[in-house]
């Protein structure tokens, strides 16, 4: 089937920018449909597991069955010809252990070997690998491997890591922490002394698995003749992955490694790391001189891919009786797992939470303690939102508690503390520079759109013995996006993600190819980057193609993460297209014999003064690429323009949002039902509002998962209890309602078109907004939400403990959450 004008179809004019008083654009700001869709709708997408490679062997890992122990022996299975077995000793001359570092005082590193050397530190850690002609055969052989492990005492929680008798997790460490620090900002003690109200609360956000539907996987092809490694993998940053591989592999430099990233089936941060599995696969391919494939199964993914959060938080707000926050104190204790992931480290969650806690509020006096504990669990690292969902949960839940204590409406309390519109650029207590924002109208929009007054009236009208109680809750966040080198340097990051690149090529027909350094895993870069190119050049979308994900093809850059691609890669496309257009003008001016300033651009042509024939791009391209004798003196032939965009401000463009949830809680069963969910978001000028809405909807679904369902569980022996998608529950059709979105467009002063990033915001507010709504519903019953996810069982147990009503008998089995009304 041919899509009706697929690549260039527009769903209808988007009037929002004109309404907001911003210039209307021809392509930017329109909900252009995605050219990416067609291949996926026909099953023709190509993911890493789909790449056919004749003769490729298959690898399966032998993983630790215990959380902590010393590997005494590993016995190989009986191998047939062509099969091979690998342990750490076999790879030590090819691969160095991964060591993730952070340039911050007190940070402790430890080697994370691609196959365990002596100790295993979490259940699921790779011990050995088997290579055979099929995955099934490799798994059979892996089952036959005999591993003798002498168990060691297990650290199964962050608190246990700091107990006096806890075993030391890594040699030479001064305690079981990756990092811990306390920092004080402003005149903290004086502000506390002035405060009239001091409110302390504790919360916990459970451990999560980012869980893209496509697991990890790679296909390594070492070509002995060329001495080159071709490494297909599903990752978010091809060049950075190549750099890491070159750093870890002994005897092969970057220029002999090509990383190719095909379609990526979701990532959400989990595919930013260099994994031991990837390194082992590359090393084994080099050793064997052949192609080897590893496609992870879901159990491996839930055992050993990067996990996130597990953040225990303590918050104290010091305020006056009007609700003005005078000082804020927060403590984050994160269970970082057994090893730091390269490159973000296991300190990323606690450090980020500490850094962003003040959010949209005018808080000048702040003390933060961040501790990242090392335990016998899977390593942790970045997952969509990083640190912010937990910070938002603690901050916003406590604001509602304060509002309740002071007898102020929660939205009014927030309004009293929001940063004023005229305070931008605003430097936060922790030194973040918010470029622009206009927060109070967003609060007004949320309150109006949620029908706040009607909810309060309905609560008033609820009978005292009613079984179902409704509640409303809000949660704010700011989202730092598109920040670059200086900002990452300040955080102590070893890799500084300073820019993104684009190479624009015009061919002789006047059509365009964009080669970009960012790497989509569903964000629709082939659409948005082409929209920006179309805007600058007037070339229609269906004459522009976008290439990404091949280090031999695309220019160097850092990839896709941290809500940065549209601003930075879009900025690079904008800049490179500007150079192309300038060149076309110069050539046209020469051919027309007029000054370049007298020319205008439009409809794929350069237009001269009235009465002259416009020169189509195809004609100008012909001159630049073929009839070069017609070029003006001093102008090089060719129409390729490479641009690396480093924003003039390195601290980022700040998006913001407020989430609002309305829930019904059944106090017999503890079941929570989402009645309404609203997002008011501001990411400046949107390039494609349809894609922005998609990012919000998808993010909110993950936020709802965190709020109500998702939880990686370990027992006291460090044995994982959630190793399938039947145990680790992702929200489905019945759990995610149709989320409403309201937009505001406060432009960034320094980015092209005033755009800001928006990839993560959707998943930040859910646990806090829903936690606040559930608490609001249960006011007067002695129950408040302190944990995410908040399950029916939690609510039921809390109601029982408070002596409030709850059904008799056993607590409900988990999970009992559904958005759907009973059938």
């Amino acid at each position: 089937m041919k899509m009706a004008d697929a690549s260039n179809a527009v769903k209808g004019a988007d009037p929002r920018d004109a309404q907001a008083g911003h210039p209307a654009y021809a392509s930017v700001g329109h909900p252009v449909l995605r050219p990416e869709d067609e291949r996926h709708l026909h099953g023709a997408g190509r993911f890493v597991a789909d790449i056919a490679w004749p003769g490729a062997l298959h690898l399966a890992f032998v993983r630790s069955p215990v959380a902590h122990g010393v590997v005494r022996s590993v016995r190989a299975p009986a191998l047939a010809p062509g099969e091979s077995f690998w342990t750490a000793a076999d790879l030590q001359d090819v691969a160095r252990p991964i060591v993730a570092k952070l340039n911050r005082p007190g940070f402790q590193s430890a080697p994370y070997p691609c196959l365990a050397t002596d100790r295993v530190r979490f259940a699921g850690q790779t011990i050995a690998a088997v290579v055979a002609s099929s995955r099934a055969r490799a798994e059979d052989l892996a089952e036959q491997v005999e591993v003798d492990i002498e168990p060691l005492p297990v650290i199964a929680s962050a608190r246990a890591a700091f107990e006096a008798d806890a075993p030391l997790m890594h040699e030479g460490w001064s305690g079981n922490h990756f990092m811990k620090f306390t920092r004080t900002f402003g005149d903290f003690e004086a502000a506390v002394a002035c405060a009239e109200v001091h409110l302390t609360r504790r919360y916990r956000m459970e451990r999560l698995a980012p869980s893209p539907l496509e697991t990890r996987g790679c296909l390594a092809v070492f070509d002995r003749a060329q001495g080159r490694l071709l490494f297909h993998t599903c990752c978010q940053r091809p060049h950075i992955q190549r750099d890491f591989l070159a750093e870890q592999l002994i005897g092969i430099e970057q220029h002999r490694i090509q990383v190719v990233v095909p379609d990526v089936g979701g990532a959400f941060g989990v595919k930013t790391n260099l994994y031991p599995e990837e390194l082992a696969l590359a090393a084994i391919s080099i050793k064997l001189g052949t192609a080897v494939r590893w496609i992870e199964d879901r159990m491996e993914h839930l055992l050993s891919a990067c996990q996130a959060r597990e953040n225990d938080e303590g918050v104290t707000i010091h305020a006056n009786r009007d609700g003005e926050i005078l000082a804020l104190e927060a403590e984050y204790l994160v269970d970082g797992g057994a090893y730091s992931m390269l490159p973000s480290t296991s300190a990323v969650e606690a450090n980020m939470s500490a850094n962003v806690m003040p959010g949209p509020y005018r808080i000048r006096n702040y003390r933060a303690t961040a501790m990242s504990a090392c335990t016998n669990k899977a390593p942790t690292g970045p997952y969509r939102g990083v640190g912010r969902p937990a910070a938002c949960f603690a901050m916003e839940r406590t604001l509602d508690e304060l509002a309740h204590v002071l007898g102020i409406e929660p939205h009014e309390l927030r309004r009293r503390n929001l940063i004023a519109p005229d305070a931008f650029p605003y430097t936060s207590a922790t030194g973040l520079v918010y470029d622009t924002g206009d927060y109070p109208p967003m609060m007004d929009t949320a309150v109006r759109a949620m029908g706040h007054g009607e909810v309060r009236a309905a609560q008033q009208a609820t009978a005292p013995d009613a079984r179902e109680r409704i509640g409303i809750g809000y949660a704010w966040y700011v989202e730092q996006t598109a920040h670059t080198a200086k900002e990452f340097f300040a955080r102590g990051s070893v890799v500084l993600y300073g820019f993104e690149s684009a190479r624009i090529k015009m061919d002789i027909s006047g059509s365009l190819t964009i080669e970009t350094s960012v790497c989509s895993h569903g964000q629709g870069h082939a659409t948005t980057l082409a929209q920006i190119a179309s805007e600058v050049t007037s070339i229609p979308m269906d004459r522009i193609s976008v290439r990404a994900g091949d280090t031999d093809v695309v220019p160097y850059g850092n990839g896709t993460f941290a809500s940065r691609s549209v601003v930075l890669a879009g900025g690079a496309v904008h800049q490179a297209c500007g150079r192309l257009v300038e060149r076309l003008r110069v050539i046209a001016a020469h051919l027309m014999q007029v000054a370049p300033g007298a020319l205008t651009l439009g409809a794929q042509a350069v237009h001269g003064p009235a009465g002259t024939e416009p020169l189509p791009f195809a004609r100008l391209a012909q001159v630049a690429l073929q009839y070069v004798h017609e070029l003006p003196d001093g102008i090089e032939p060719g129409l390729e323009f490479m641009s690396s965009y480093r924003p003039p401000v390195e601290t980022g463009a700040f998006s913001a949002g407020v989430h609002a949830a309305k829930v019904a809680v059944d106090i017999e069963t503890g079941a929570v039902r989402l009645l309404d969910y609203l997002v008011v978001e501001d990411c400046g000028q949107t390039i494609n509002p349809m894609i922005v809405d998609g990012q919000v909807h998808g993010g909110v679904a993950q936020g709802i998962g965190q709020a109500l369902l998702e939880e990686i569980r370990y027992d006291a022996q460090g044995q994982p209890g959630t190793v399938t998608l039947a145990d680790y529950l992702l929200p489905g059709f019945g759990e995610v309602p149709e989320v409403r979105i309201e937009h505001q467009h406060t432009l960034s002063p320094f980015t092209a078109y005033g755009m800001k990033g928006t990839g993560e915001g959707g998943c930040i507010g859910g646990p806090a907004a829903i936690g606040n709504a559930v608490t609001d519903a249960l006011r007067g019953l002695g129950v408040s939400v302190t944990r995410a996810p908040v399950t029916a069982r939690d609510v039921w147990m809390a109601l029982q403990a408070a002596g409030s009503r709850a059904g008799a008998g056993d607590p409900p089995a988990e999970p009992a959450y559904t958005w759907m009304p009973p059938q």
């Binding site: 993911f47 099934a136 539907l213 089936g265 992702l730 059709f733």
Partner: protein, 158 residues
């Protein structure tokens, strides 16, 4: 039946309207047969134990999880994968998924389409609640389901 692990079975089945022959291990899944032997990689493995629905295909017109369906059980039967879906309803669904931004990374999309075709063939006038219930065997981690529900609803009659 206690077939030895290395027992092989000769199969003949119809895949997307074409006859296919294969000699398979008794334990081979339909998903692996389709992907590895027949090179129909549009059927995606997401969880390999029947939860996520990414591998959904039609077996004699009924949706099944290819990851937990044994290839050996498909002898003499007809399999339709995303590559073989065709007809006016499928065309409308594909166009609607595109128009409603019902996919981001595209990994769950083949399974979603197969389940949606089955749903609308059974319930041509499905309302939103029915769509959400009947599609609940398919997971998407990117879209929040909004676009998928809208796309299917837009193809339902009435």
């Amino acid at each position: 039946m206690n077939a030895p692990r290395d027992a092989t079975i000769d199969l003949q089945l119809t895949v997307n309207g074409h006859e296919a022959k294969a000699r398979v291990e008794a334990r081979l899944s339909l998903c692996d047969l389709l992907r590895d032997s027949l090179h129909l990689t549009g059927t995606h493995a997401g969880c390999e134990h029947g939860v996520c629905g990414a591998c959904t295909v039609l077996l004699d017109g009924q949706p099944v999880r290819a990851c937990i369906t044994l290839a050996a059980a498909c002898d003499g039967r007809a399999v339709t994968t995303v590559e073989g879906l065709s007809g006016p309803l499928v065309d409308r669904l594909r166009a609607a998924f595109h128009a409603e931004h019902a996919l981001q990374c595209g990994y769950c999309t083949p399974g979603m389409l197969v389940s949606a075709v089955d749903l609308l063939e059974r319930k041509p006038g499905a309302e939103e609640d029915e769509i959400r219930r009947d599609m609940s065997g398919n997971l998407c981690r990117c879209t929040g389901y909004v676009g998928i529900v809208r796309a299917i609803r837009s193809c339902a009659q009435g």
